[in-house]
């Protein structure tokens, strides 16, 4: 009964989405206020029914209703309740319903926050969001229905994939989806502006906080995914350039470009084409990611069950949601051109370079990801494009970008003296160069050219980002920093931290594989490992062999690491649970492998310097984003929007 209520709710939501998708847009085109006024109630109603639908799916999971096919495929009575809840997004159908729910939340937020905007524009934004929602709900109902029943009801379910039975499951997919799907908001703003035929500084001011908010979640989502796979998959890697990982990273690159491009449009009223195209492209790449993970077109451990029929449907949606707006752009592009001069040494020029380099990076990743498909489609057989390619090619646009980042942060609008800019930056540059070259050599005794260059660049970005805060807070010079400026410094500092982490982990990780018998010692990366042996361990839904290592440095005990080789009873899949000791300076990583020969176990031991920086950096970026969104000028806009009949162009705001 309950699942049927869920399905019916979803159908009602589709109807409301169709209303939201058609009448407000028609109303805006013809000036009918009553039709435009339907947008917000439709969005609210859609939200209610979608939440009901998702709640019924969770109800089915938490009550072990194995008559629902999706529940039977992804759950089990022995599964802890926490994982029964997260299993709702552990498979394709449920995760699509989750996608829809997240979009409904964003739409509701936009509906609530759009009161300061002209009705004609706001109804178009909600109309576009309605079109997106309708398409995805239709996709779910017709090809990926999570409420399909199974007859006869099985006695028990297939269990959730053991790799997903982990606390990371509660935060990584939801955060990522909120970011991913959130790209629909700037997309809707961009398409609405193209439909209205007007794209001005106010438009940029409205769009920017939404973009930053979605970007913050996307940053956190990708970071959580990297961290999660590091400790969950058991081999110590943190990024594999897997097609599914790339699917989330490409929107991130373009979203980063977008939020910077919006700054220019907001300030000078130029770069409108860049901004509109970036907004369309970022969401298109989100959809492309949805396509790649579910159509079977590319091979990935993260991919959902492949189904070309579903792939065709999503491709159709992609054609509509990308092709449509791009065609509209072609017609409206001329009207976006605006005058606004700037010289070579100016913030605009640096942000232009920023746009170009980030787009190059995104296209590089896209091309590398799709190349196996392209080569196969052209009839030239199967090739693989993996980390060796991406690691090398990604640096090509990104190292110059990192260098320019440090400089561009300190540039001013329109024009400035190149000499004064360089003069400001001499000290941070010098310190970065000196430390970047010497510190790795001091600690490790060797450094390749790339390692030295990357260390210098990482330190350079950090130093450049700290320059203004140091000046204002330590030397007490200059005007107080606004929240937006603090956010910028924090986020860019995070970039530098990340670069340092990536450099040191890539260059100086020590790893080895040992055959360990109880009582044996191993020296790895300056630590002594004593293997204490293996003992069996039982848990609710798995049984394991646990191997213990005592870790010592300089004779003193640092920690005891216990790694498990688990076999989950229902699916009978063996999985490795690595044991990790984390400090800010390094991780010590141990993964028990399998028994080899007489009483010995194979184990992989790694010492990974500065690996925490890989995730600390992006968290600082996200924190910087939060500061930016909380800046006074946006709060001013929110305050104004609660006062009825006041338009957005009040004198005190910019």
């Amino acid at each position: 009964m309950i699942p049927e209520i869920g399905q019916f709710s979803l159908v009602l939501a589709l109807c409301l989405a169709l209303v939201q998708a058609t009448l407000p847009l028609a109303g805006a085109a013809t000036g009918r206020a009553d039709w435009m006024a339907l947008a917000r109630p439709a969005a609210a109603g859609q939200f209610v029914f979608i939440v009901i639908a998702f709640a019924t799916l969770e109800y089915a999971f938490l009550n072990d209703d194995f008559s629902v096919l999706f529940v039977a495929q992804h759950s089990n009575s022995a599964l802890p309740a926490f994982y029964k809840f997260t299993a709702a997004w552990g498979g394709h159908e449920g995760s699509m319903l989750f996608w829809i729910t997240v979009l409904a939340i964003w739409t509701l937020a936009v509906a609530a926050g759009s009161r300061s905007q002209p009705e004609e524009f706001a109804s178009r934004v909600l109309g576009v969001l309605g079109i997106v929602s309708a398409g995805i709900i239709a996709f779910a109902l017709f090809t990926s229905n999570p409420f399909i029943r199974l007859a006869p009801t099985p006695a028990d379910g297939n269990d959730l994939n053991p790799l997903l039975q982990d606390p990371g499951m509660i935060i990584h997919p939801p955060t990522l989806y909120v970011g991913y799907v959130g790209m629909a908001v700037p997309f809707a703003f961009a398409v609405a502006a193209l439909l209205t035929g007007r794209l001005d500084k106010n438009w940029a001011k409205w769009t920017r906080p939404w973009t930053v908010a979605a970007w913050i979640f996307l940053t956190c989502g990708i970071t959580l995914g990297s961290w999660w796979s590091y400790y969950e998959l058991g081999w110590g890697g943190w990024w594999f350039w897997d097609p599914v990982e790339n699917s989330s990273f490409m929107p991130w690159l373009l979203a980063t470009a977008l939020l910077h491009s919006l700054a220019v449009t907001e300030r000078r009223g130029i770069f409108k084409s860049w901004t509109v195209l970036l907004a369309i492209a970022a969401f298109s790449l989100s959809l492309l990611g949805t396509f790649l993970t579910r159509s079977g077109v590319l091979v990935s451990v993260h991919a959902f069950a492949a189904d070309p029929t579903r792939g065709l449907f999503i491709l159709g949606l992609l054609a509509a949601y990308s092709g449509g707006p791009l065609l509209l752009y072609a017609f409206r592009a001329r009207s976006l051109e605006a005058e606004g001069g700037f010289k070579l040494v100016s913030r605009e020029a640096f942000l232009l370079a920023n746009n170009i380099l980030l787009v190059i990076a995104a296209v590089t990743v896209l091309f590398g990801t799709l190349s196996p498909l392209i080569v196969d489609a052209l009839g030239y057989g199967k090739i693989s494009v993996g980390p060796p390619y991406f690691d090398a090619m990604f640096l090509l646009p990104m190292l110059p970008l990192a260098v320019l980042l440090g400089v561009g942060m300190h540039s001013i609008w329109r024009t400035m003296s190149g000499a004064s800019l360089l003069q400001r930056l001499v000290w941070p540059a010098g310190i970065a160069a000196a430390l970047g070259v010497t510190v790795p050599l001091i600690f490790y005794g060797h450094a390749s050219l790339l390692t030295s260059v990357a260390s210098v660049v990482g330190l350079w970005v950090c130093a450049a980002a700290l320059l203004d805060p140091l000046r204002k807070w330590v030397l007490r010079e200059g005007a107080p920093l606004t929240r937006a400026q603090i956010g910028m410094c924090l986020a860019h500092f995070g970039v530098g931290v990340f670069i340092l982490g990536a450099t040191f982990v890539s260059a100086y990780t020590v790893e080895t594989e040992v055959s360990a018998r109880a009582g044996e010692h191993f020296q790895v990366g300056g630590y002594d490992f004593l293997f204490r042996g293996v003992k069996p361990v039982e848990s609710a839904n798995f049984s394991a062999e646990e191997g213990e290592f005592e870790v010592r440095k300089g004779g003193r005990l640092v920690t005891v690491l216990a790694s498990q080789q688990r076999v989950y009873r229902v699916q009978q899949t063996p999985t490795t649970e690595a044991a990790i000791d984390s400090r800010i300076g390094r991780d010590v990583f141990v993964a028990l492998s399998k028994p080899v020969g007489d009483n010995a176990w194979a184990a992989r031991i790694q010492v990974k310097p500065l690996i925490r920086f890989l995730w600390l950096g992006p968290l600082l970026m996200a924190l910087g984003g939060i500061f930016t969104v909380l800046d006074r000028r946006y709060r001013l806009a929110i305050r104004e929007s609660t006062v009825p009949s006041r338009s957005a162009a009040a004198p005190g705001s910019t």
């Binding site: 159509s295 079977g296 791009l326 196969d376």
Partner: protein, 188 residues
């Protein structure tokens, strides 16, 4: 004016490849040995550890090489069809992969033996030379000793009809030498 259509044009190109990609199978990697001579090898036979079997025994006729093992559950599914094939006149050689000799011999004794002979590949090095990824896999070898085709997963009648037979018939059209005399079932 036309440059404003560039973004749309780029999108259409990408979408075209994605559409084509829906009909491809990225997981089905064809064998790298097709068109090349079978790898040279010499292994003890399964039945008798002192007897040897090698690439020269297979050459000179059209034959199948089937990779199997007792730990391979899916091998059981194709075993019946292999027996039928063998009875209809198709020479099949076995490559017993990383198996336990007594268990393998017992398996053949109880389920039937479709193989002319089975090579015993204890550690899998010969299988690696053949580009084997798992069991079961079946190779079709031409009479010149070149690999004509490789099929991964259990061999069925449909696969035999659709993939193997046409290749055999193509080779045998010109001359009869080395061709199996296939009777009834398989020769349809």
């Amino acid at each position: 004016m036309w440059r404003y259509l560039i973004p749309l044009a780029l999108f259409v190109v990408v979408a075209a490849f994605l559409l084509r990609g829906l009909n491809l199978h990225p997981n089905e990697v064809p064998s790298a040995l097709i068109g090349k001579q079978i790898p040279e090898f010499a292994l003890p036979t399964l039945a008798d550890a002192d007897a040897k079997i090698g690439s020269q025994d297979i050459a000179g006729k059209i034959a199948l090489v089937n990779v199997w093992a007792t730990w391979c559950i899916e091998c059981r599914h194709e075993h019946g069809f292999l027996i039928t094939l063998a009875k209809s006149g198709m020479p099949i050689y076995g490559l017993n992969l990383k198996d336990d000799r007594p268990a393998a011999l017992g398996w053949l004794a109880s389920l039937g033996n479709p193989y002319v002979a089975s090579a015993f590949d204890a550690d899998g090095t010969v299988a690696l030379d053949w580009g084997v990824t798992a069991a079961p896999e079946t190779f079709l070898i031409g009479r010149d000793g070149k690999v004509l085709f490789k099929h991964i997963s259990p061999l069925t009648a449909q696969v035999w009809q659709h993939d193997f037979l046409p290749l055999i018939q193509a080779q045998c059209r010109a001359s009869d030498a080395g061709c199996p005399r296939l009777t009834a079932l398989a020769a349809r």
